[in-house]
Amino acid sequence: MKDARRIAMVLVGVFAVSALFAGFLAPADYAKQFRETPNAAPSRAHLLGTDELGRDRFSRVLYGTRVSLLLAPAAALLSTLLAAFVGGLAGYLGGWWQKLAMAGTDLFMSLPWLFLLLMVRAMLPLNVAPLTSVMITFLLLGVLGWAASARVLCAGASALRNSEFILQARASGIHGLRLLALHVLPNLKPVLYAQFWISIPVFILSEANLGILGLGVSEPLPSWGSLLRELEGFNAFGEPWRLAPLVLLVIVVTSFQMILSREEATA
């Protein structure tokens, strides 16, 4: 299991580094349309062939990986921090605060997210650069995706509040923010890490789902979502190289799950 986890970490690391250096590794601009060769098969010029508009698929996969792999952790971090604030504080304070926060969380979780995302997207300004649009998409995912983690963190903080060492700390005169910073948060760290790692694949898949609906990252910037969208109704047996983004997504999400299993065990 240890080896598998190491391999997973190496894989995620390799993908992250290659995505980071996409500018050097990509043979062509991700947006450049080679209009004479749309839907081309793999060749020396285009390692994974070209898409429907003649864009180099390998370059698009590299840039798409950068978008999804680097921004999903950012969104996960944001949502985990929000969850820590709402859930952690509610669990720590307890009583009516906890009830109120959890009622709010339940309400938040019961909202139809897809429609809410559609609505929020429709309210945004139209003239946003593709890079800004991708940031907005992940920001939205981060801002809207904290509720489930908040419940877990609330339960963790609540358990800590009634634990003996916290009672002891209180008895010795530690209260308020000091108690929170010195004793509660350090003990919540494993739960926070686990929630962070869980959120990353969730956000990658959410962006992919939004991309499939045509509502994720705007053209011509690629993301795994927009790359997966190209797979709608295609014949996998005829052109297996087109599965590259799907294979990549599966490998990365599985790798995250393997890394996560350690964090969960620690938590």
Binding site: Q33, R35, L53, G54, M119, L126, N127, E219, R229
Partner: protein, 542 residues
């Protein structure tokens, strides 16, 4: 010699068996409707599915032949339109009966017109006949009927193609039909079964009663993937109005099953927001209201590439409001702009635009950047927008592609006008320009670039208003064509809509069906349904 005789014998036998097979006909044709019909009342039809049922069951006085694009007598053996364009007289066929055996009389025509024009029913079909306020009079003779409208109705004869005659005497009311099939069974959300009308009046040249088919089963199937799968399995016999992607998918597996009937009436277009008080910067509105700017954008778009790459060559570049599928109204004399980016730059320079590094800037130095909104989920439009983004990028214009869910998009383009450019498709169901009055009149709701104007804001829009009104009231069809040709000319010069492509009419037809001649007009494959027959039935007989 013996071989020759044997061959001749085989040929004669084949002909005999074939004609016997056609004489027997029979079989059930199956295809899918994409939704449940909202109504079976022919005067209330407004959706595609209901229109299909109406076409297959309704008997009309005059039929517009989808192949020849000419009017043909059906239940009316002859007809005559008065010189003032207000009246039409029909001489009806004798000895015709409805599917339930009720005789067809001139009274039925009068009854149908009464239903059609009943203000309480709000018939969408009847709306086309409402040229002005006032009463519609129907005078019934022994075997003739004259209908008089309060004002001239342009294209009056053609409108009767969508008016199935209903029985005034039958207890079944509108379920008694004069068309080739009648509705025998209907399971909501599942299927509609139409059976051969035993009293159908039409006979072929050999005197055989039509239609040849015994039944048509219409399965309600909104999912296009499942529809294509069922076609490939042989569970349905045809698919109308195929997307390029499905056409290629079916065609790659079995090239003989797909048909491309050439340009259809469906096109794709984009336009700029020219509403003066739209919530976008004034300098952008000034660009969009500039003819040079619009023409430059139009010339900088490579339509050939759009047709070839996005639609796999199953589309043709479009330059005007009328598709060549509309043979009579298409203006073939329009000058087609070529893809010429240097020429586009020259046009922009005339308006004070200039290059600043890699960006185009206007007179005041604002970089030229705008967004094209289109509906999310339509990959063809998204691809076109992305290609336009690259084309315009070459002349320094930055384009942002924005996909929105449909309700938000419609709200932006019709109510809030909070958009810069929009790309959508347009389907002209009716060939006559009168159906597009609301698009071309400056006061019209569908005058998308600047709707509901109190009075025309530009001289060319005033000219279009004048020409459209003139063509609507002219009785002479050639005069009308002349007026509408001028409208097309102005539109081509001013480019309020930048027409991109006319999509081809694609369909998939099972080899089991005889007699299918796909045409660009709807219903593409079964417009001659009373002449279709199934190969399986022929084989059975043989």
């Amino acid at each position: 010699m013996t071989r020759k005789l044997a061959f001749m014998r085989r040929v004669v036998l084949f002909v005999l068996f074939s004609s016997l097979a056609f004489a027997q006909g029979g079989g059930e044709l199956r295809f899918c409707l994409r939704s449940e019909p909202k109504t079976f009342n022919p005067v209330l039809v407004e959706d595609d599915s209901a229109e299909t049922v109406r076409y297959l069951t309704g008997g009309v006085l005059i039929r517009f032949n989808r192949q020849t694009q000419r009017l043909e007598p059906e239940l009316a053996s002859t007809w005559k339109v008065s010189k003032d364009g207000r009246s039409i007289s029909f001489w009806i066929r004798k000895g015709v009966t409805f599917s339930d055996g009720t005789p067809f009389t001139a009274e039925d025509v009068a009854y149908t017109m009464k239903q059609l024009m009943d203000p309480a029913l709000h018939s969408p079909t009847g709306d086309a006949f409402r040229s002005s306020e006032g009463q519609v009079y129907t005078m019934v003779g022994l075997d003739s009927v004259t209908i008089t409208f309060p004002a001239p109705v342009a294209n009056m004869e053609r409108l009767f193609d969508t008016v199935p005659i209903m029985s005034s005497a039958s207890p079944q009311k509108f379920m008694a039909v004069l068309g080739p099939f009648y509705m025998a069974d209907h399971k909501a959300g599942s299927y509609i079964l139409l059976k051969r009308n035993p009293n159908y009046w039409k006979h072929d040249d050999q005197g055989r009663q039509m239609p040849y088919l015994d039944a048509i089963r219409l399965d309600i199937q909104p999912n296009r993937d499942i529809e294509a799968l069922r076609f490939r399995r042989g569970e349905i016999d045809l698919i109308n109005n195929l997307d390029t992607e499905y056409y290629d998918r079916i065609g790659n597996a079995s090239p003989g099953l797909v048909r491309d009937a050439g340009p259809s009436l469906e096109g794709e277009q984009m336009w700029f927001n020219q509403v003066p008080n739209a919530p976008i910067p004034d300098y952008k509105i000034a660009w969009f209201r500039s003819t040079y700017f619009r023409r430059a954008v139009s010339e900088a778009i490579n339509r050939e590439d759009l047709s070839r790459i996005v639609f796999g060559s199953h589309a043709r570049p479009s330059y005007g409001p009328v598709s060549p599928a509309n043979r009579f109204w298409f203006n073939s004399k329009l000058v087609q702009p070529v893809f010429d980016q240097p020429a586009a730059m020259q046009l922009l320079q005339k308006d004070g635009f200039r290059m600043n590094g890699a960006s185009l800037v206007d007179r005041q130095g604002h970089p030229v950047e705008f967004s094209i909104v289109t509906n999310a989920g339509n990959k063809y439009r998204e691809r076109m927008a992305t290609m336009i983004q690259q084309d315009l990028g070459k002349i320094g214009i930055k384009v942002n592609v924005v996909t929105l869910d449909f309700p938000s998009l419609i709200e932006r383009i019709t109510e809030k006008f909070n958009y810069e450019a929009c790309m959508l498709g347009l389907t002209n169901v009716d060939l006559d320009p009168n159906a597009q009055m609301t698009v071309w009149l400056s006061s019209g709701e569908a005058h998308q670039w600047n709707p509901r104007q109190k009075k025309p804001e530009t001289s060319w829009e005033a000219e279009i208003d004048k020409l459209m009104r003139s063509q609507a009231t002219a009785a002479d069809i050639n005069k009308r064509k002349e007026y509408f040709d001028k409208v097309q000319q102005i539109v081509a010069e001013q480019q309020p809509f930048i027409y991109l492509v006319d999509k081809n009419a694609l369909s998939a037809v099972s080899p089991n069906i005889f007699g299918v001649v796909p045409v660009p007009l709807r219903p593409q494959t079964y417009w001659n349904v009373d002449r279709l027959t199934l190969r399986a039935e022929v084989a059975k007989v043989q």
